[in-house]
């Protein structure tokens, strides 16, 4: 349970980190919070020749409000900062709530937003929240900077749009939608979720009277439903989103969307739960997350 030998370098700037990474991109890993990487090193699931410590890069820190009401979050933002930041709670309460569910306090003190997104565990909370929030991932590399929508970022199991020689520098999220929900089921607080759902709902023009029975004409404008722990990646539950369409979001619609969510996902089976059970959870949790969002929308409209 000791990592294989590696060489260690502390980067003092983004340019330095980029150069160190470019020297051997396939054989170098960036070390940020290390809460996923170091267990994998200790179990020798990965054996990079070089670790580049990016914890000293000021360019990757900070939580900044954007003029459009959104937020820019440096890649080194710790989970504990996300959960505690008044700015994040105000402008992205879904993200603050998701961060509260990541691991235990000791993990949240170290683990970083950028690390969680780059690692892309399909059961992780933060990628799911960011996908629901329609976040943009900022990346820099030897050929300059680029940005990728969260929708195009998560490609598969622990696989993202990030190239080996690139560094994830920041996440930007648009102005917060008033309706959101976040639910997960884990065996103990801090465990990886068996399944979870994050949802963001933007209301239509007319006010909502939820979660009371449906009335004609009251609709939601857009919904982004994301499941985690229910597939090989952080998963948009597209079928469930379509079921909701632009119609009213009431208990009946939430139940229909839940049923569709079960068909949207392709959950793994393991010792903690069967695929069938996780599919059932996706159904139930989608319904609950939507009802949370509906209640928040109703509170907002008042």
């Amino acid at each position: 349970m000791k990592p294989a030998p590696f060489r260690y370098a502390r980067a003092d700037s983004l340019a330095e980190a980029t150069a160190l990474l470019a020297a051997a991109p396939g054989d170098t890993k960036l070390l940020a919070g290390g809460q996923s990487l170091v267990p994998m090193l200790n179990m020798r699931l990965v054996r990079p020749a070089v670790l580049v410590d990016v914890n000293g890069l000021r360019e990757l820190t900070g939580i900044t409000p954007l003029p459009d009401g959104g937020l820019r979050l440096g890649a080194l933002t710790r989970h504990a900062e996300l959960a505690a930041s008044p700015l994040v709670r105000e402008r992205a309460p879904l993200l603050a709530e998701a961060a509260r569910h990541v691991g235990h306090a000791a993990i949240r003190n170290q683990g970083t937003l950028g690390g969680s997104v780059a690692h892309a565990d399909p059961a992780a909370e933060l990628p799911a929240a960011l996908l629901a929030l329609d976040a943009r991932v900022h990346i820099t590399g030897p050929h300059g900077a680029r940005e990728v929508a969260a929708d195009a970022f998560f490609r598969g199991l622990l696989t993202t749009a990030l190239e080996p020689e690139e560094i994830l520098t920041a996440i930007e999220i648009p102005a917060p939608p008033p309706g959101w929900g976040f639910v997960e089921i884990a065996r103990r607080p801090g465990d990886f979720a068996l399944a979870g759902v994050a949802v963001v709902v933007r209301p239509g023009r007319r006010p909502l009277t939820l979660p009371s029975p449906a009335r004609g004409g009251e609709g939601i404008e857009a919904v982004r439903l994301v499941g985690f722990g229910v597939g090989d990646r952080t998963l948009r539950l597209i079928g469930a989103e379509r079921v909701l369409g632009g119609g009213p979001l009431d208990a009946e619609a939430a139940a229909r969307a839940g049923a569709a969510a079960g068909a949207d996902c392709d959950p793994p089976s393991d010792v903690h739960g069967s695929a069938e059970y996780r599919r059932h959870l996706a159904t139930v949790l989608t319904e609950r997350a939507l009802l949370q969002a509906a209640a928040r929308l109703a509170g907002h409209a008042r």
């Binding site: 060489r7 150069a19 160190l20 170091v38 200790n42 504990a80 306090a105 003190n109």
Partner: protein, 165 residues
């Protein structure tokens, strides 16, 4: 730019004492504390961040010392269970653990004390549920946790009122 190296010089403070050391790059903070500094109160259980036995404070915040490399600790301040223990006798929290029989084999106890120290610094009067959630990342295979929760509650109750404000 520092070239990648398999040996790293670190200067940090451990329990308030300055320490300078050349460490192997892959040396975990937990092994550094135990093997290089002889601070064996920090226990090493799972070595992948699950059991919580190796929990220490880094700049006052809890961290798994098996998930940090000593090389990363340059300029930081580490506090271990030894640093939370008075020169003579026990701290009030440790005394509560003793009185409530909050340990059997004792393997998880240093990590528990460190975790609860951070909890009480942030939340001086935690609810039972908050205490349970806070220690859920520290595995105890003996006690069933009941006496540990009781010990924390008793430590909170025994504090002078101003400390609980």
């Amino acid at each position: 730019m520092t070239a990648p190296s398999d040996r790293v010089t670190v200067r940090l403070t451990v329990n308030g004492r300055p320490v300078a050391h050349v460490v192997e790059a892959r040396r975990s903070l937990a092994d550094f504390l135990r093997e290089d500094l002889g601070l064996t109160g920090t226990h090493v259980g799972c070595e992948h961040g699950v059991c919580g036995a190796c929990t220490v404070l880094v700049d006052g915040r809890s961290a798994r010392s098996c998930l940090l490399f000593a090389a990363q600790l340059d300029g930081r301040a580490v506090t271990t269970i030894e640093g939370l223990t008075p020169a003579a006798g026990l701290s009030p929290l440790q005394e509560s653990f003793r009185v409530c029989h909050a340990m059997q084999c004792g393997f998880c106890t240093p990590g528990m004390i460190v975790t609860v120290t951070e909890l009480l610094a942030q939340e001086p009067t935690p609810s039972t549920e908050t205490i349970r959630e806070a220690i859920s990342g520290n595995l105890c295979m003996c006690t069933g946790y009941v006496n540990i929760v009781r010990a924390v509650e008793q430590a909170v109750a025994a504090r002078p009122t101003e400390a609980r404000a």
